[in-house]
């Protein structure tokens, strides 16, 4: 038998040998006849959504056979990459492994890429060639980029003008470029139109880069070219920018010709709607996005590129038995945040466990808190609580909202402290990471 790197003999046997029998069993027996105990759930994607779903499926129903498919052995989070870019954290502190999921919860983790989905046979094909069969499939694939939709911005361009919107080599590339930038240089960030991953992300990013530049390269400038006229926590960001950085950050909204239509990564130039050309020393382009590609392969994404779901369970409205969570979904008014992916995962894990046990799904309620750091000791938040009302997702009336404008420094300092604690909390809940470990 050909060995697959990183998969134990037992796992490999299970993957290669038993899968056939499993799919036969799945085909031969109606699901009702199979007990909850023998049901197989495959989860694709080991980020905030997928890792949490795998862990909580085992917590809610320990006898389930749960396999998590994630290419990376160590997962680096997008949240807090801005703190790394600002010099406040080292990159390794953003990495999490799957040992607690495997050793403590009994999740089988397969470090391969999910390449194709056969919804008829209920099988998913992996990059190594093996197939996994499922009774229920959870997709938490995050985002992919619409390469080329922004003229001149494709994968090759991203090597010169990084997006750094997935944590990894791109993030480190952007940091190296900032370190190499001369004092007095211009950093340009191109922000996309809605919807996109992490609505406050571009604004926290320029904040953290402003912190770095003010400290290390104080003659530099930041230009934020935006395809929108408003953004998440806008009043709080602008207040924080003024207080901490004066006029270092210039935000250009769409109505003031902020929308970029063309990128020349070789020249580090961008051209806006009305033909103005801006030249950067470091150019960071956050491109238009869509659901991760496996969502397209599974047929769950619609013409928008995102995935419509049943609001109560997050089961696909297009393919029964496939559940989709996290950034890939159409879940407005919930934002595409790691926190939301984590809470969606737990509600969906519960709905799947209930379904396999022949019970109705629970009435869901989800919360979200997005922390952003404007400067060391200066944190802000937006929070929300969501439920299903008249068949639609909604924010619970008279709840949630943003931190108060004009709050004193101690309030901002507390939210900065809680931001760090939040990261520890969600890393604990998602991967089992212990603070300082």
């Amino acid at each position: 038998m050909k060995a697959i790197p990183g998969i134990s003999r037992r796992e490999a046997l299970r993957l290669l040998g038993v899968v056939g029998a499993g799919s036969l069993l799945g085909a031969a027996l109606p699901l009702k006849a199979r007990s909850l105990g023998s049901a197989r759930v495959v989860v694709v994607g080991g980020g905030f959504g997928g890792a949490t779903a795998a862990k909580y499926l085992k917590r809610f129903a320990p006898s389930l056979d749960v396999t998590l498919v994630e290419p990376q052995r160590r997962f680096y989070t997008c949240p807090f990459t801005n703190l790394y870019l600002g010099g406040l954290r080292d990159f390794e502190s953003l990495g999490h492994d799957y040992r607690q999921l495997t050793d403590h919860y009994g999740v089988t983790v397969v470090h391969e890429r999910a390449e194709a989905v056969d919804t008829e046979r209920k099988e998913i094909r992996l990059s190594g060639g093996a197939a996994l069969s499922w009774d229920r499939l959870v997709l938490s694939p995050g985002i992919d980029f619409r390469w080329g939709e922004l003229e001149g911005y494709d994968e090759a361009a991203a090597v010169k003008a990084p997006h750094a919107w997935k944590a990894g080599p791109q993030t480190m590339l952007l940091r190296r470029q900032l370190e190499a930038m001369p004092d007095g240089g211009t950093f340009i960030l191109v922000a996309p139109d809605n919807p996109f991953r992490c609505p406050p992300g571009p604004y926290e990013r320029v904040s953290m880069i402003a912190h770095y530049l003010r400290t290390e390269k104080p003659r530099s400038k930041i230009l934020l070219l935006d395809a929108k006229d408003s953004f998440s926590k806008q009043g709080l960001f602008m207040e924080g920018w003024k207080e901490n950085y004066g006029d270092l950050i210039e935000w250009v909204p769409r109505s003031s010709d902020g929308r970029v239509l063309r990128v020349d990564a070789g020249r580090l130039e961008v051209e806006t709607e009305f033909g103005e050309i801006h030249r950067a020393d470091v150019l960071n382009v956050v491109p238009p996005q869509k659901a991760g590609f496996i969502a397209e392969r599974a047929g769950v994404a619609d013409e928008t590129g995102w995935v419509p779901v049943n609001p109560k369970t997050f089961e696909s409205t297009r393919v029964p038995g496939i559940y989709v969570i996290g950034d890939a979904t159409q879940a407005a008014p919930m934002p595409k945040s790691g926190f939301v992916a984590n809470t969606q995962a737990k509600i969906t894990a519960r709905a799947i466990a209930a379904d396999l046990a022949g019970k109705a799904p629970p009435d869901p309620k989800w919360a979200n808190t997005c922390y952003s750091l404007i400067a060391p000791g200066w944190g802000i938040t937006v929070a929300g609580v969501y439920d299903v009302h008249d068949g639609n997702l909604r924010e619970v009336p008279d709840s949630g909202g943003v931190s108060p404008l004009g709050a004193d420094r101690s309030f901002r300092a507390r939210e900065a402290t809680y931001a760090e604690a939040w990261y520890a909390g969600i890393a604990h809940d998602t991967w089992g990471t212990r603070p300082g470990a």
């Binding site: 509600i347 629970p362 808190t369 969600i426 604990h428």
Partner: protein, 114 residues
């Protein structure tokens, strides 16, 4: 088991038992959960800051195993904007009914602390 003990009202014993279980079992919550348990459903959101089962000790305080009356009073105070120094919790607490806040207080009080 948790519920039987609580029905009997033996909170201290519950805490003791849960503590023993933590030593011997990987997680206090073994076996299939009671899927209809409303508090357990809505409590999952709390774990994204307070850690799984609300047990993580950081600048955000752990909530597992704290007295039910204390937790309930705090949640109500958050919702009514009567908690000095509060940041995000008042905005979150307003998203839950009074009954849900009471159920959350009970749920976390019954969990073993770190």
């Amino acid at each position: 088991m948790k519920q039987i003990l609580l029905t009997a009202g033996v909170l201290a014993v519950a805490a003791l038992f849960a503590g023993v279980l933590v030593q011997s079992a990987p997680e206090p919550e073994s076996g299939e959960v009671v899927l209809a348990d409303r508090a357990a459903v809505i409590a999952q959101s709390c774990a994204a800051c307070h850690g799984t089962e609300g047990r993580l000790v950081t600048a955000i305080p752990p909530i597992a195993g704290r007295p039910e009356a204390v937790l309930h009073a705090q949640l109500v105070a958050f919702k009514k904007d009567q908690m000095p120094g509060a940041t995000v919790m008042p905005r979150l607490a307003k998203g839950f009914t009074d009954e849900e806040l009471a159920a959350l207080a009970r749920y976390f009080s019954e969990l073993p602390p770190e």
